[in-house]
């Protein structure tokens, strides 16, 4: 059986590895982007000089032939599901017995005038990175980033590392406050400004200006201001990269519609990762999930189903992480920007404004719902355990030391956190567990 996978990102590659682990079928992975799998999350570090492309490849190049995974560099143009055939942009083709589409995302463009000019780009693919290198090759006087999310801040950090001034246009009144609660959003807003970025809140992009040769020369904002720049970063989210699927019989919505087994409407055709849209998403999950680990789990799920082991997509409890310049962020469970009905919350922030913890629980039975931690590392498995056990917020706080994951000798946060809690909730006093003596800290840290 020949299993063909379109896309060599985390979903496609996880699928290929799972297939190889459990079977001897012929496996081919197709990508037009790069010869080998690389970590998309590390694109920014290549531009910043922290790594080169080769360091972003999680497997050495011999890995693929050793595991008998064929790699083909091509762009797919069309899929003919009646004849199990895919067509490449050079009009050559390939037969498949099972097909997995894991073609990822592309950056959103919202019909702004000038959005296709040279120098306007998102940051998703290796080609985007190359475009950024091209645009900034001879230096630029300023870049404007549109959109206040994770990719926006990454792009700003990239350009900043090369000492180019950056202006960020953010529609919201505070950074990423459509995802983060107000307190964390304020902290990140402060941190972005501390790094010297020109952050414009409540400002939108109206138009991108042409210098007469098809290149960017500036932008006009919703306030009517013109900002001169040679690079415009569009980072207002991503959407499924499925243009080549649309002419086929595979049913698409915003993404390729799949059931919980990653199956499309066509027998033998599957989709996974950013490009897939769940018909009925699991609880607390969006139909299209664009994070690294869901791509990984969906790739694995698709592979198991291809092998005839019916397996439903089960991402478990929500979690995520990111880094905003120097501040790390993790979240476990659900902390929404605005509390839902019946939820209660507690927020603690360190005096220096670089560390914080935000806890959310259900009022009626005090069941723990989620946590945001900034500048503090917490243990994934411990929180997963608490969510599974339906622990109360009081239990979580009492045992919070068990979840601490900061490096040794880091300034502990637990006592400050608990004393702030005890002041705010005198009726629910907490006594920290696991007081760590010096001896215990040395020998059982």
């Amino acid at each position: 059986m020949h299993i063909v996978i379109i896309g060599n990102g985390i979903s496609g590659i996880t699928a290929a590895r799972t297939l190889r682990k459990h079977s001897d079928h012929e496996i081919t992975v197709i990508s037009g982007e790069t010869d080998h799998f690389f970590s998309r999350t590390a694109l920014m570090y290549i531009y910043m000089g922290h790594m080169r492309y080769q360091e972003t490849k999680p497997y050495e190049d011999w890995f693929w032939s050793k595991n008998r995974i064929n790699l083909k560099k091509a762009w797919v143009k069309q899929i003919d599901t009646d004849n199990n055939h895919i067509l490449f942009s050079d009009d050559s083709g390939m037969h498949y017995d099972r097909l997995l589409i894991a073609s990822g995302s592309k950056s959103n463009k919202f019909g702004w005038p000038g959005q296709d000019l040279d120098g306007v780009q998102g940051l998703y693919s290796f080609q985007d990175l190359e475009a950024m290198e091209r645009t900034t090759k001879h230096g630029i006087s300023r870049a404007v980033i549109v959109g206040g999310g994770l990719i926006g801040i990454e792009m700003a950090e990239m350009l900043h590392s090369r000492h180019y001034p950056v202006t960020l246009l953010v529609r919201e009144q505070s950074y990423w406050n459509n995802v983060l609660p107000a307190q964390e959003s304020a902290m990140i807003t402060r941190h972005i400004r501390e790094h010297g970025f020109d952050l414009r809140l409540g400002v939108e992009l109206k138009e991108i200006l042409d210098d007469g040769t098809g290149k960017v020369k500036g932008v006009v904002t919703s306030e009517g201001e013109t900002i001169d720049c040679q690079l415009v970063g569009l980072t207002a989210g991503v959407s499924p990269n499925i243009e080549f699927v649309k002419s086929s019989k595979i049913v698409c919505g915003r993404g390729i519609i799949v059931n919980q087994f990653q199956q499309t409407n066509i027998n033998g055709v599957y989709a996974a990762g950013d490009c897939a849209q769940m018909e009925t998403p699991p609880a607390d999950r969006r139909p299209i999930e664009q994070v690294w680990y869901t791509g990984k789990i969906q790739g694995e799920t698709a592979a198991l189903n291809i092998l005839g082991r019916p397996t439903a997509y089960n991402p478990g409890y929500w979690y995520n992480s990111a880094k905003f310049l120097d501040i790390e962020y993790q979240t476990y469970g659900m902390v929404l920007p605005v509390l839902r009905e019946g939820e209660e919350a507690f927020y603690w922030e360190d005096a220096n404004g670089k560390r914080s913890i935000h806890l959310v629980w259900r009022k009626q039975d005090r069941r723990f719902i989620g946590i945001n931690n900034f500048g503090i590392r917490l243990r994934h498995t411990t929180f997963n355990h608490w969510l599974k056990q339906q622990a109360t917020v009081d239990e979580v706080l009492r045992d919070i030391r068990a979840a601490a994951f900061d490096p040794e000798f880091f300034k502990p946060f637990e006592k400050e956190l608990i004393s702030a809690w005890n002041i705010q909730f005198p009726d629910h006093q907490i006594q920290l567990n696991n007081k760590r003596s010096l001896r215990a800290r040395i020998f059982h840290s």
């Binding site: 985390i10 996880t14 682990k21 970590s39 999350t41 590390a42 570090y45 290549i46 531009y47 910043m48 000089g49 922290h50 790594m51 080169r52 492309y53 360091e55 999680p58 050495e60 590392s161 000492h163 790094h195 690294w292 680990y293 789990i297 694995e300 799920t301 198991l304 019916p310 397996t311 439903a312 089960n314 478990g316 979690y319 992480s321 990111a322 880094k323 310049l325 120097d326 790390e328 993790q330 590392r377 917490l378 243990r379 994934h380 498995t381 411990t382 929180f383 997963n384 355990h385 599974k388 994951f405 490096p407 040794e408 000798f409 880091f410 300034k411 040395i442 020998f443 059982h444 840290s445």
Partner: protein
């Protein structure tokens, strides 16, 4: 990618943007380098003191001012911007030149010290002051070494000032170099005519228990006896116990002088270590061969000595010992180990050659509480951990599978954990087999089948 930086700076270079503080630092460094160069070729012999002060103030003061100008005003955080664009830190033309200069220095030091005569006299004033006698090549080397660890150690602490593990660890390794490997031997030499290093033990200090050294050391009375007993206790009792509890890092990145130089002056080159599987295979053969060599050699020499030369014959024993001293002690540890920093990275000796590291590595791999744990499934495979591992461990290989990292070569520097953008890695020394609850990924980094709901 497209940008290559030809600056000589090892600290976040951007020539267009030097601030006033950095320029002042660079000017002082230039004066220091000039004084050193002039003295080396023999100019200023009569004013050695002034040249020495100019050299010392220029290199140390200038260096510190420059680094302060570089890091002091930036927000605390990871500072790896442009590392791979730097010619000197990324095997560009300048990196190769620096490699050749350092290698040449080591070859002169070990085999042709007369070429260092100018430098040696430059250090006479200091040597007279602290030891009451003229300098020699080893005094020059030890002093330079200590200055490098001090200045670059302070630079490292500025760079990682947000990370208390790095601050404490670097203070420790700098302290041991300055006090145990420089000051104390000088004091003891003044007092007892014998200046042992209390922070080096067999098998790294390979001839520590050779019959020849033993009889020499024991001649210096009570101190000599103490040093021998101290060394034996450290090698055979303290090392296994400490390595069991803390991993080999208690020595390699907290105490050892070779490690001290690697962690401070060598830090800008840490990303140059080879992460390939092939390099790991070479590492295992090479380092364990060196360990076997020194064990066999030492045992042979001791047995031979006990049998008054009847086993080996004096000449054969001596020539074997000389072979080790030349190949391993000088060429591997010095010329390649440090001279090749800009080519092989800062831990080539520690990774491929050091018998002490090999010995502790075996304990760490098979019987130690030390490991680097992975934070559930938070890893995004970005590769910062592997890139900045000075020991060439492909940390990401484990992290993306949710596996603990238990590797013989890990010196516990903690940089993988520091550069991780998602808070995934933690150096831990809790009890063995501590079970953590929650998801355990399978050996392929995937959710295990039985954890996924299977429908019929």
């Amino acid at each position: 990618m497209s940008e290559i930086n030809s600056s000589l700076s090892l600290a976040n270079p951007h020539p267009a943007n030097y601030n006033g503080t950095q320029k002042l630092g660079l000017a002082l460094i230039a004066i220091g380098v000039l004084s050193l160069a002039l003295a080396w070729v023999g100019i200023g012999k009569d004013q050695a003191l002034y040249f020495f002060i100019a050299m010392l103030a220029g290199l140390m003061g200038g260096g510190l001012i420059y680094f302060y100008g570089t890091y002091g005003k930036l927000p605390a955080g990871i500072k790896n911007n442009r590392v791979f664009f730097s010619s000197i830190a990324s095997r560009g033309a300048l990196g190769w030149m620096l490699g050749i200069i350092l290698t040449g220095f080591y070859i002169s030091l070990y085999f042709f010290p007369k070429y260092l005569n100018g430098l040696i006299s430059l250090f006479d004033p200091l040597s007279q002051l602290v030891r009451g006698k003229d300098s020699d090549q080893w005094f020059v080397y030890g002093t330079f070494y200590t200055i490098a660890v001090l200045v670059m150690g302070i630079k490292f602490m500025m760079k990682y000032r947000h990370n208390r593990y790095q601050l404490i660890r670097t203070s420790s390794v700098t302290f041991f170099q300055l006090i145990l490997a420089w000051t104390l031997p000088i004091i003891m030499e003044n007092l007892y005519n014998y200046g042992p290093y209390l922070s080096y033990f067999w098998p790294l200090d390979y001839d520590a228990i050779f019959p020849g050294s033993l009889s020499y050391v024991l001649k210096s009375g009570k101190l000599g006896q103490f040093v021998v007993v101290w060394g034996l206790i450290m090698t055979f009792v303290a090392t296994p116990i400490l390595t069991y509890f803390f991993g080999k890092r208690w020595y390699c990145s907290w105490v050892c002088g070779c490690g001290g130089l690697a962690e401070t002056a060598g830090d800008p080159f840490r990303h140059l270590s080879d992460k390939s599987l092939r390099a790991w295979k070479i590492e295992r053969w090479l380092i364990h061969s060196v360990l076997a060599f020194i064990i066999i050699l030492t045992v042979l020499l001791l047995v031979d000595n006990a049998a008054t030369g009847k086993v080996l014959g004096d000449a054969a024993g001596k020539s074997l010992a000389k072979t080790y001293s030349f190949l391993i002690g000088s060429i591997f540890a010095g010329v390649i180990g440090t001279g090749f920093y800009p080519i092989l990275g800062n831990r080539a000796w520690c990774r491929f050659g050091c018998p002490m590291a090999a010995y502790m590595g075996i304990i760490q791999r098979f019987k130690s509480r030390f490991r680097i744990t992975t934070n559930g499934a938070q890893c995004i495979s970005c590769g910062n951990c592997s890139t900045y591992c000075e020991m060439g461990i492909d940390v990401r290989w484990y992290a993306q599978r949710g596996q603990n990292i238990v590797r013989a070569s890990c010196v516990g520097c903690g940089i993988c954990s520091a550069v991780c953008p998602r808070g995934v890695l933690k150096l831990e020394t809790g009890p063995e087999n501590a079970q953590r609850t929650g998801i355990q990924l399978d050996s392929h980094g995937l959710i295990p089948l039985e954890a996924v709901k299977i429908l019929d």
